[in-house]
Amino acid sequence: MTRTADAVVIGGGIVGCATAYNLAKKGLKKVVLVEERYLAGGATGRCGAGVRMQWGTEPNCVLSRDSIKIFENLEEELSYHDSIEFKQSGYLLLAYNEKMVEQFHKNLGLQHKLDIPSRWVTPEECQDLVPHISLQGLHGGTFCHKDGHCNPFKATDAYAKAAQRLGVEILTYTKVTNLLQDRDKISGVETTAGIIETPLVIGCAGAHTMELGRMVGVELPIYPERHQILVTEPVAEKQGPMIMSFYHGIYCQQVPHGGFVMGLGDPNEVKDYDEDSSWQFMHEMAAKITFILPALKDLNVVRQWGGLYDLTPDKTQILGAIPEVPGFYVAAGFSGHGFMIAPVVGELMADVMLGEQPKYPIDMYGVKRFESGELYVEPSVV
């Protein structure tokens, strides 16, 4: 079956759903979103559910700052009748050596220039914010009260439902098998549900966006890397802020439901599509978190899972047009922080795809930066 569309969005995570919503909101009549599994079945639904403005590069600071502003009123904007479980109890980033103290102060300088209300906190102030934190080895940290949590399934569902109300057609369990070109220009998308003729395609498929690039002969520097998370049984509210330690490569937050969600970045992880859970992760995660937050030792772990980061060489996302293939756009390579910047990314991508001037210039986030070497190396990633 062949159908036509004004634009096809590939990927049913929050970036795809937000982009489809914004395209339809801007008046595009026929937008089709294609998802291989179910909505939020990839990186979005497997992420740590945190949202923070405390970053070390300008793009991430700005995109997250403005996305959090959108999250604050998202239920209203999207007329969502459920809750997206958004809470702002802050992120407390912990420093365990002098080098980190120095980097954090550098980050604070950048953040303050961009009106992000973060501040330096002493170890004692860390304990005021998170009473059960251990002071062992702690040099202090930075805190931003605007950071927090949002439910990725619900936020994606909110965008998807709003998009559908505006006429977006969502095809789940539909796999893209090829991208079609007329000379260089995009002319359609071949899927397991037939061909969709379209002049505009955007790849929002996380690490799989690399494969979409290969379908049109473009090598995108995006690599899959497994990251794992576990969650404990729900308990009464005990911890407001998300705590993060780049020294230990971990983060941990009590979500509104009551469970503690925690994850770990393993520097030796093989760059592959493996999403399985490992025993080693449980053990290492438990050892590290009970060092930083000893009181959590009595909490029961009820579940663990894995998901894929879509990593780029500078750990900053690739946004924008692919110049060699007119009509082909990419919003991927989010390197573990796509969920929290998706609301703004969705707006920017819709602007760029429709040939309008985006809210801020995004040329520098394009794939060409890997040729020119003008990278945005993000230091604050787990």
Binding site: Y38, K154, S277, A287, K297, D298, V301
Partner: protein, 98 residues
């Protein structure tokens, strides 16, 4: 739960971990959510300590009725470790305590 505000004795809880009723499940199914993966994410059924030991067979039967698929063909969700809850302190101690 002893402090449960529910007075309705006829309430049919299918997910005891998350206090989800059959009516809530059916409401989602009636709205077109006929995928256990989606129901799990929207309602938390199967995300509690028992990992769906009680609710999954019941919901699968509901999905079977709604979709006309035999029970055996309704796709299940991925089973996640641990099989039963384990304390972080025990996991952290692991190797030394063997």
């Amino acid at each position: 739960m002893s402090d449960c505000k529910c007075k309705d004795k006829d309430l049919n809880i299918v997910c005891r971990c998350e206090d989800i009723t059959i009516e809530e499940v059916r409401a989602y199914i009636d709205n077109g959510v006929t995928d256990l993966e989606q129901l799990k994410r929207m309602l938390r059924v199967g995300m509690g300590p028992c990992q769906g030991r009680t609710c999954t067979p019941i919901i699968i039967r509901e999905l079977s009725v709604a979709t006309g698929k035999p029970v055996g063909e309704v796709p299940l969700t991925t089973f996640r470790p641990p099989t039963s809850p384990v304390k972080l302190g025990v996991l952290a101690g692991g190797e030394e305590d063997d």
